[in-house]
């Protein structure tokens, strides 16, 4: 069976090699941002539970998360 032909090509802007932290809820994201060392590695907040990490700083974020006692699921290698 072949793949169905796409109905239409969707206009999209691609963002590659993005470092993100996804939290279970907004309160947890707030908790992370309250940690000064972690907050300085966060470039911005995409939504209330998605944090954008500054490029090249993902190792520092992982280290700080683990220091806080979290056990983050790491997707895409590293850590």
């Amino acid at each position: 069976m072949t793949d169905p032909t796409p109905v239409g090509r969707l206009p999209v802007k691609l963002h590659r090699h993005v470092c993100l932290v996804l939290t279970e809820d907004a309160v947890l994201a707030e908790e992370l941002l309250a940690r000064k060392k972690l907050a300085q590695e966060v470039a911005g907040r995409l939504t209330d539970r998605v944090l954008l990490v500054r490029p090249g700083r993902v190792d520092a974020v992982l280290e700080e998360l683990r220091r806080m006692g979290h056990t983050p699921q790491v997707v895409g290698g590293g850590g």
Binding site: H15, L20, V21, Q73
Partner: protein, 700 residues
């Protein structure tokens, strides 16, 4: 195995492709005697095919001089096809051929051995081009089909004066000691990698760490001798076996070798094959560095080959092995601290400290000291003996206790189970009954290594003699659930759509794994470009892209949406406020309030300047700088002044420079304007009139 065949065939092709045409033709002529003037590609392909042709290989081996044939046999018995030239010369000399490089060059000429060439190697016209100034450091490999065929004839090593007797106590190992220690070290490296020098040696801190470790730093419990620096030996074995990988100056964990899942015999064979790669360890000294290369692999291989030449069941004294080897090995005597007299101790320590726990030899003791002989495993690997059945008698060897501790009875362990346990439980002690602990961190490590919660539960349940306590399974489930609370994507691909409807359509088509905002979704694996029309493509590992253009006012700017990125969105919310625009353009303005907010977020002026430069390609404007810094705390002043306007810039320059008039002026306001205080005005006009500059007073 097909994958092995592909690997060695590719290595042969890579080597032959670097041969000069005349060298290639000469090697091919010896290997398969081509009947035509075939092109080089054809010669390479036929050479690779010939190396799988058993009758031809047998013929070529028979044509070799004994020294070359014995060298191939030794490599075959080592089960590792790649050795350094220096190691091969040493092994060759030790088994009785002191012709130096000559036997190896014969093999290269015959197309039965090939150089391992680093990237960037030039074309080889003669072997000296490759061997260069340090021939012993060069590496060579012999294709496994060739090496395997050569092992059938064995090696003409002598029978030593052993003795056959009924030993009262035979010291034998289960072969699990090194897999267990490698599992322990794997966990430790996972937690904190070991740093390596450029020569792959250890820094003092890491050496101390291995020495002081309560498990790795001690000798195996039932062993008759002390193993010096057992942790360093385990590290060397792990590196040679590919379990630990040196990366950017650090030793990191790799995957457990696949043979661990197939049983104990393949695991022992794999660790035996790792022998030539074990560096920086010596049976008497422990951690040992020499520029010439440590003699351990090149003495251990001939020593085991010598034991393989003894009749089955006969015990051999280590002193006899040492006496045979010491007079032949080219560099070993010089490396012995106590000179030749240490040779017996060295061989005894090597056999009892490394080979016995590897299950290659067994030992017994009488009034004359220790005696050794090959085990069934050793005879299978080195003397063509039958493969022993090493399957554990019972698989249910674990007892999981309610506090999360696990007892693993050694009789039931397998390398595969050791690998699994190493991933999700912490080794606490090794012995007849090994102990482990389940913790949040260890379960997290297991999940991060690729196991699932179900995998962990299955391992515990399948190998437990009793039911796994419900509270332990519940704990493991809870720890695993905790990991689900935060997900870090180290290199995600996000798809930003023009409208929520487009994102929804992509979700329906299965192109988006997760919606993040109403317009942005997380891509599901590789992006299928045929579904998309790309409006922009941003790589966040590259430098920030310029996507902002400032207006003349220096504080209002327009964003180029096609070139912008998500980081910019976050940055904009910090530094500027949106401005309403009539078109589709996105415009922002730096205001006194947004500038103050930037300062309060502890962003420095230089960071703000860098942001401007990165995003607009221009330095921070004066007006934006004004909003950010103000006057820097210096007060301004408001006062009444008269403005004197002069006919030209030249006249103004003269009036400012001539002391008679210059002393009566305040600040220069422009090319032709200066400020004058009211009390100095009359005197200034008088002095100007004296030099011919008439000034008309403003009637206002």
């Amino acid at each position: 195995m097909e994958s092995d065949r592909v690997a060695w065939a590719e290595a042969v092709r890579a080597a032959l492709s670097r041969y000069d045409d005349s060298l290639l033709r000469s090697v091919a002529a010896r290997l398969f005697k081509p009947r035509n003037q075939w092109p080089a590609d054809e010669l390479v392909a036929r050479s690779v095919a010939t190396l799988s042709n058993t009758p031809v290989i047998d013929r070529r081996l028979r044509e070799l001089p004994p020294s070359s044939r014995h060298l191939v046999a030794a490599v075959g018995l080592s089960r590792n096809s790649s050795w350094s030239v220096g190691q091969l010369v040493a092994v060759l000399a030790t088994i009785g051929h002191s012709e130096g490089l000559a036997p190896l060059l014969v093999l290269l000429d015959a197309g039965l051995a090939f150089p391992v060439l680093p990237d960037g190697t030039n074309v080889i016209r003669q072997w000296e081009d490759w061997l260069g100034s340090r021939p012993t450091a060069a590496r060579v490999f012999i294709p496994p089909p060739v090496a395997d065929r050569a092992t059938r004839d064995g090696l003409p090593l002598p029978q030593l004066s052993g003795k056959a007797f009924e030993a009262k106590v035979i010291h034998a190992a289960d072969g699990l000691e090194w897999p267990l220690r490698l599992g322990v070290l794997w966990q430790q490296l996972r937690a904190a990698p070991v740093r390596l020098t450029q020569a792959s040696a250890l820094f003092k801190r890491d050496l101390t760490r291995l020495q002081a470790d309560p498990i790795l730093g001690t000798s195996p419990v039932d062993l008759a001798v002390d193993v010096p620096e057992a942790g360093v030996l385990a590290m060397g074995m792990g590196m040679a076996a590919g379990l630990f990988v040196a990366e950017a100056g650090e030793l990191r964990t790799g995957r457990f070798p696949p043979e661990w899942d197939t049983g104990l015999l393949p695991t022992i064979a794999g660790l035996w094959a790792a022998l030539p790669g074990i560096a920086h360890w010596d049976p008497l000294r422990g951690y040992f560095l020499t520029e010439e290369g440590e003699p351990f692999p090149t003495v251990a291989l001939p020593a085991l080959l010598l034991l393989a030449a003894q009749p089955d069941g006969v015990w051999t004294h280590p002193a006899d092995v040492a006496e045979y080897l010491i007079s032949r090995h080219p560099s070993w005597p010089a490396a012995l601290r106590g000179g030749v007299d240490d040779a017996e101790n060295w061989v005894e320590a090597m056999l009892l400290g490394w080979a016995l726990p590897s299950r290659l030899v067994e030992a017994t003791e009488d009034g004359e000291g220790w005696w050794v002989r090959l085990t069934g495993v050793g005879r299978h690997l080195l003397a063509g003996g039958p493969a022993p059945d090493l399957r554990p008698p019972f698989p249910q060897c674990l007892v999981v206790q309610p506090n999360g501790d696990v007892v693993a009875y050694r009789q039931g362990l397998t390398p595969g189970l050791i690998a699994s346990l190493s991933r999700f439980a912490d080794w606490k002690g090794l012995g007849p009954a090994c102990t482990l602990g389940l913790t949040a961190e260890s379960v997290y490590r297991g999940l991060e290594s690729g196991l699932t919660l179900a995998d962990i539960a299955v391992v515990l349940q399948q190998h437990s003699a009793h039911a796994v306590p419900a509270n332990v399974l519940d704990l493991v489930r809870r720890w695993a659930g905790k990991r689900e609370r935060i997900t870090v994507h180290t290199s995600a691909t996000l798809l930003e759509f023009g409208s929520p409807g487009d994102l929804e359509a992509a979700v329906v088509r299965g192109l988006v794994a997760q919606k993040l905002t109403d317009r942005i979704g997380l891509a599901d694996g590789d992006v299928e470009y045929r579904h998309f029309r790309l409006l922009g493509n941003r790589d966040y590992s590259a430098r920030p892209q310029q996507c902002v253009t400032f207006d003349r006012d220096g504080v209002t700017f327009t964003v180029d949406v096609s070139a912008s990125d998500l980081l910019l969105e976050a940055e904009l919310s910090r530094v500027a406020e949106p401005v309403e625009s009539d078109g589709t353009e996105r415009r922002y303005r730096i205001t006194p309030e947004s500038a103050r907010a930037v300062r309060e977020q502890a962003m420095t002026l230089s960071e703000f300047e860098q942001w401007c430069l990165n995003r607009s390609g221009e330095p921070l404007s004066a007006s934006a700088r004004l909003l950010f810094t103000g006057s820097g705390g210096v007060l301004g002043e408001v006062r009444h002044r008269l403005v004197l306007t002069l006919p030209s810039e030249a006249v103004t320059d003269g009036v400012c420079q001539w002391p008679q008039t210059g002393d009566l002026l305040d600040d220069r306001l422009g090319p032709c304007a200066v400020a004058v205080s009211e009390e100095n005005a009359a005197e200034l006009l008088r002095r100007l009139a004296a030099v011919g500059v008439d000034v008309r007073a403003d009637r206002g």
